[in-house]
């Protein structure tokens, strides 16, 4: 059997029976094809351009470009700190900051709520309402119905 140098064993099929080959890479026929491909890929290539610019400007430039979002974040954090009420010491009697422990241990919920007024703690308000609805010898059923009425 004739040995073909490239295949190691088999002789090739006659070229006249085979489909035509593509032109070589350097052939001018490919110029139009390459141009068409690149034109069709233009949106993708623009994406690569901008990504490349970002990469090329890395390091300190990247850090520099982050100062705006970092400053905005810091400002927002500071604003939140100032907007939130600072915690008040227990027993000052001001609204919105009664420790629940105080109520559970020995406080009188309706009285505390009365002292706190409209801006009082919601938990205290609910407890106070339960106390009002159920009375001194009240039970859970009364409290529940009271809560439902409230809704």
């Amino acid at each position: 059997m004739k040995v073909h140098p490239e295949s190691g064993e088999s002789p090739p099929i006659p070229g006249r029976w085979l489909p035509d080959a593509q032109p070589t890479e350097s052939a001018a026929e490919w110029d139009g094809t390459v141009a068409r491909i690149l034109a069709a890929a233009e949106p993708t290539l623009q994406g690569l351009d901008s990504r490349g610019r970002r990469r090329a400007g890395g390091g300190w430039r990247d850090i520099g470009s982050l100062w705006k979002p970092a400053a905005a974040l810091a400002t927002a954090a500071m604003a939140l700190l100032f907007a939130a009420d600072p915690p008040e010491p227990a027993g000052t009697g001001s609204t919105g900051s009664f420790p629940l422990d105080l109520v559970v241990i020995g406080g009188d919920p309706p009285a505390l709520w009365g002292a706190a007024g409209e801006g009082g703690d919601l938990v205290l308000a609910f407890i106070a309402l339960q106390g009002t609805q159920a009375g001194p010898g009240g039970n859970g059923a009364a409290a529940t119905s009271g809560a439902e009425e409230q809704r």
Partner: protein
């Protein structure tokens, strides 16, 4: 290394030109020249690969363009430490296969509507014999297993060397040579049956 010169053994910048991976890295950073060089370097190979699945020149052109567009769209995710050619080959292969899958679904419907298609084959006229033989060969090539078909196409039709094909397909040159050998053997056997006694090289050499 194959990738330095590209599959056609030619390079715009000669042997010292940039490797595929270097070009890919530059293309990732938006270097248009590198992108164009990559496309130009592989335009023929990608056309040849998709032509292993598709026969119509317009289909080949469309599929090759789609393969490049997909590759360029995915270039940002390409790991430039890995060989570029097999990565591109896989994309081209997938594009061509998807087209064949959708086409075969469409074709199978078409064939059931056209039972008289066989009669369209050219008759035993001598001047049609060569064209008929080429058609039979093309059909036989299409029936080869995928890797044999691509290796055969790149080698015997397009004229790539086995080391170049190995670089494109991500195989060893020995494996490529083996695929080519088995492809030729299968083709000869297939053509022997189809051409019924025609003078087929390989038989006369035995």
């Amino acid at each position: 290394m194959f990738s330095r010169k590209g599959p056609g053994g030619e390079s715009a910048e000669g042997l010292d030109g940039p490797t595929d991976e270097e070009l890919a890295r530059r293309a990732q950073q938006g270097d248009r020249g590198a992108t164009e060089m990559l496309v130009r370097r592989y335009v023929r190979a990608v056309h040849a690969v998709v032509a292993s699945w598709l026969s119509e020149p317009a289909d080949v052109e469309d599929a090759a363009q789609e393969a490049f567009l997909r590759a360029l769209a995915a270039l940002g995710r390409f790991d430039a430490k890995r060989p570029f050619a097999p990565w591109l080959y896989q994309i081209a292969r997938n594009v061509a296969r998807n087209r064949v899958d959708s086409r075969s679904r469409w074709k199978s419907e078409e064939l059931t509507d056209d039972p008289g298609r066989e009669s369209e084959r050219p008759g035993p006229d001598a001047e049609l014999e060569s064209a008929e033989t080429r058609r039979l060969v093309a059909e036989a090539v299409a029936l080869l297993p995928e890797q044999q078909r691509v290796a055969f196409r790149l080698s015997d039709i397009e004229g790539y060397r086995s080391d170049e094909i190995a670089g494109i397909m991500g195989l060893t040159p020995e494996t490529v040579r083996s695929h080519i050998h088995y492809a030729r053997r299968s083709l000869r056997a297939s053509l022997r049956r189809r051409l019924d006694g025609a003078d087929i090289p390989g038989r006369i050499h035995r």
